[in-house]
């Protein structure tokens, strides 16, 4: 497995607890790696280090085996980037911007750009300064993807897009992924990372708390069910049955049990003896996964300020 992006003990301390501390992760070739965290948690700082815009205080970032700071220019031959903050150069229209960008990239054909423009329903002749946030985001996406680079680094690429456009964009990312691109993207939305990423890192206060395998979560055989009883007696009787109760709400005569798929028949047999109000499956997704971890983290008082 080729490690296209490798981050080792990366630290950039801005003082006052801000910055990133001792980050370690890698992105394998062809993998889509997600970055999730609250505002100010250090997502953008990490990406700036990878892009070679800032110099690490300690630790090392390598892209394709090259040092991200020293060989920043060489690395860019294989990297495309969508910045978190969208501000375009002082040019008039989108077309002008794409042409300037193509010239800087040494790109001769605008075929891919035209294709992307169509796909995203962008009007490239619009004035850059008067574009809406969504339009600007689309323009930035086209500018990044038009050179067909092998590595894509996307800093919150869906901000400002309407839900429909977001879907189109995510489809686009999945296509790129299929074409073998290595993708690193950050986001605040769990669901879009869940649909696109292979692995997702949770970053909190400048530290990586967990790196989750999205497929493992999706295909987990352990599931949780929420059960509400009509009366107190049944509720109390059920509780004595030694199921793994992960949540207990006495007020509503409600319990949440976690069982492996193999025990499902056993559970339903037990339940048939009681008067139930409802049974529902509680989906285990990325958000749930991270929320649980984060809650433990905060309760444990570890790394929390």
């Amino acid at each position: 497995m080729e490690e296209v992006i490798k981050v080792e003990h990366l630290t950039k301390d801005y003082g006052g607890g801000r910055g990133i501390f001792d980050l370690n992760f890698f992105v394998a070739k062809g993998e889509t790696f997600g970055f999730v965290g609250t505002n100010g948690s250090g997502k953008t700082t990490t990406i700036r280090n990878i892009m070679g815009f800032i110099k690490p205080k300690s630790g090392k970032v390598t892209v394709l085996g090259m040092d991200a700071w020293k060989d920043a220019c060489k690395i860019k031959e294989n990297v495309a980037y969508i910045p978190g903050e969208i501000a375009f150069p002082d040019l008039t229209t989108g077309i002008e911007f794409f042409k300037a960008q193509a010239e800087l990239l040494g790109l001769k054909s605008m075929e891919r750009a035209d294709e992307l423009i169509k796909r995203l329903q962008l009007d490239p002749s619009a004035n850059l300064k008067r574009m809406s946030k969504g339009m600007k985001q689309k323009t930035a996406i086209v500018a990044a993807l038009m050179a067909d680079k092998d590595i894509l680094i996307l800093d919150e690429p869906t901000t400002g897009l309407d839900p429909l456009m977001r879907e189109t964009f995510l489809e686009l990312i999945l296509e790129e992924k299929k074409r073998g691109k290595t993708i690193l993207m950050s986001s605040q939305m769990f669901d879009e990372l869940e649909t696109t990423c292979d692995r997702v890192a949770l970053i909190y206060n400048g530290r990586i708390i967990d790196i989750a395998d999205v497929n493992a979560i999706k295909n987990s055989t352990t599931k949780a069910y929420k059960i509400e009883f009509t009366n107190k007696e049944d509720y109390q009787k059920f509780k004595k049955l030694k199921y793994n109760i992960i949540r207990d709400q006495e007020k509503y005569f409600q319990v949440t049990v976690q069982i492996d798929d193999s025990e499902i028949n056993k559970l339903f047999k037990s339940l048939s003896k009681y008067n139930l109000k409802f049974v529902s499956e509680v989906k285990n997704n990325l958000e749930k996964h991270f929320t649980n971890i984060l809650e433990k983290e905060i309760k444990g008082g570890k790394n929390v300020f």
């Binding site: 300037a100 800087l104 040494g106 990044a144």
Partner: protein, 562 residues
């Protein structure tokens, strides 16, 4: 090559409107300043003021000449009268023998040593040597001398001896035993006195830095004057009932001098061989005016001499003071400070002030400075602050390439701007008269070069700030702020600099010039033709180069929040 054509084009597209506006505005401003100034008779007042001072100088000169000639006439009379006195006549034989024998001895020594008799310079120096020796010897005789000799000062005695030596040159065979000794000696002394007066006048004017021609003129004037005075005396002394009356001779002196001045003025006025009647009339009028001035000067002189005789001052001091008062011109009547201010105003170079010190160092720099501050900021700091720099740096473009390309854009746009300004200024100067205009082509080109180098230094500094700071507000306030501060200092400093006439000048405000690098753009030196501006230009270029280099390296090394 650290240069990106694509980025350069992008910078051009982003800034060409600003460039065009600033360039056109500066060129138009400059053309208006030069053409309007060139077509206005702005120097008329200055010229008439200058005339007043030139005329005052001439008047003063005329008066001095009158007083000096008058005094010389009187001195000549005194000299002959002294020669006629009985005491001197009695000792003439003795003096002649003593003085000439010492002189002849020196001549002989010289002849033996050099194998030929002394002539020219050598003879003059032998005479001077003899005079020095004899003045001491004669003075040491003290009371044995006749009263006339005792009354003489060392200087007068020296002059007397010198004249005797000159007379001896003319009559080497004459001795106290010769027949008609007294008559021959006196005649020769009188003749040589006139010659001596001429030589003295010549030497005086040469030592004052006058030309050979002018000095020769005065030599002739002094010789004629002395000869006339002596002739006048001899003529009157021939009468049996002659009694020397000083005042009578002063009257003759006055009459002679004012007529001399009249003739001089008349001849000065008439230049053509065959003057027309009008010219003659005008010359006469002019000459009469000169005569009146001369007469006034002599009367004033006499009045002051009378007034001061008997005071504590020595005769020489009295004469000097009286001469100064008599030769005072109209401008000497004005209080000194006012006269100085007026004269300075007359000498002021208004074109140099307005075009050099006000346009090129202040007004013409303002718009290019605004351009430089805005563009330098926008080339780096502005793009880092907004984040748009990310698009350039996410392509395979080195940071050094970005910095160098932006630097090149700033330099080239500034150079192109000043080339157009230079062309405009040269055409404007050509329209108003080319090299006949108060500022010639070479000077205007140096002005443009200086303005360019000044802006080049500011551009380097602003570029450096733009490269150092990630925020526009810091880059603008530190880069632009200091630049504007310096321009303001130059405006304030102008009121303390010596291009402004002293009447308007506040010297303390010159302090502001020390806070501004625009002071290194030395327009005064350019107009003076001195070379001081050149090394100052070199410093400006040095500031620019150093700051640009610091900017490029700093941009390469720093963290960018993109």
């Amino acid at each position: 090559m650290y240069f990106s054509k694509a980025l350069f084009k992008q910078s051009m597209k982003a800034n060409w409107v600003k460039w065009v506006c600033v360039t056109v505005a500066t060129c138009v401003m400059l053309a208006i300043v030069i053409i309007v100034l060139g077509s206005l008779a702005i120097n008329d007042i200055r010229d008439s003021l200058k005339d007043v001072f030139t005329q005052a100088d001439q008047e003063s000169y005329l008066k001095e000449n009158s007083v000096d000639s008058y005094e010389a006439y009187n001195l000549s009379i005194k000299f002959v009268d002294g020669l006629e006195s009985e005491g001197l006549e009695g000792y003439m034989g003795l003096a002649w023998g003593m003085i000439t024998s010492s002189y002849q001895q020196k001549i002989n020594e010289y002849t033996t040593a050099n194998g030929q008799a002394p002539t020219g310079e050598a003879l003059v120096s032998i005479k001077e040597e003899t005079v020095d020796e004899l003045v001491a010897t004669i003075k040491s005789l003290g009371d044995y001398l006749p009263a006339e000799f005792q009354e003489m000062s060392d200087e007068e005695l020296g002059q007397f001896i010198y004249i005797i030596l000159m007379a001896y040159d003319d009559n080497p065979d004459l001795s106290a035993t010769s027949p008609d000794f007294i008559e021959t000696a006196k005649a020769s002394i009188k003749g040589n006195f006139a010659e001596y007066a001429g030589i003295t006048a010549y030497n005086l004017y040469i030592s004052q830095g006058e030309t050979e021609e002018v000095a020769k003129g005065y030599q002739a004037q002094a010789t004629t004057l002395a000869t006339t005075a002596i002739g006048r005396y001899d003529e009157l002394a021939g009468a049996d009932d002659f009694v020397y009356d000083e005042d009578e001779f002063k009257g003759y002196a006055n009459e002679y001098v004012i007529n001399m001045i009249y003739n001089q003025a008349y001849n000065q006025y008439i230049t053509s061989e065959e003057p027309t009647d009008e010219e003659v009339a005008a010359a006469e009028q002019y000459a009469v005016a000169a005569k009146v001035i001369a007469n006034t000067a002599i009367s004033t002189y006499e009045l002051w001499i009378d007034e001061l005789t008997g005071s504590e001052m020595t005769d020489a001091e009295i004469q000097a003071y009286a001469r100064e008062q008599a030769s005072a011109s109209i401008t000497d009547q004005i209080p000194e400070k006012v006269a100085e201010a007026l004269e300075e105003l007359g000498n002021m170079d208004i074109y140099g002030l307005i075009i050099g010190s006000i346009f090129y160092r202040i007004a013409g720099l303002l718009l290019p400075m605004v351009f430089v501050i805005m563009v330098a900021n926008g080339l780096l700091a502005g793009q880092v602050d907004s984040g748009s720099m990310a698009y350039v740096l996410s392509t395979p473009t080195k940071r050094r390439t970005v910095a160098c390309t932006q630097m090149a854009y700033l330099m080239i746009s500034l150079l192109a701007m000043f080339l157009l300004v230079t062309v405009t200024s040269v055409i404007s100067i050509w329209i108003v008269g080319g090299n006949n205009f108060a500022i010639n082509f070479a000077e205007i080109c140096l002005f443009n070069l200086g303005a360019f180098l000044t802006m080049f230094a500011f551009a380097g500094y602003c570029f450096m700030c733009s490269a150092i700071f990630n925020r526009s507000k810091y880059s603008m306030s530190i880069g632009g702020g200091l630049s504007i501060f310096m321009l303001v200092c130059t405006i304030l400093g102008l009121f303390g600099s010596n291009v402004v006439p002293s009447a308007m000048r506040i010297d303390a405000m010159n302090v502001f010039n020390y806070f501004s690098i625009i002071s290194l753009f030395d327009t005064v030196s350019i107009l003076n033709g001195s070379i001081a501006f050149a090394w100052k230009f070199a410093i400006l270029a040095g500031i620019a180069i150093v700051t640009f280099i610091i900017g490029v390296f700093r941009f390469e090394k720093k963290d960018l929040p993109l």
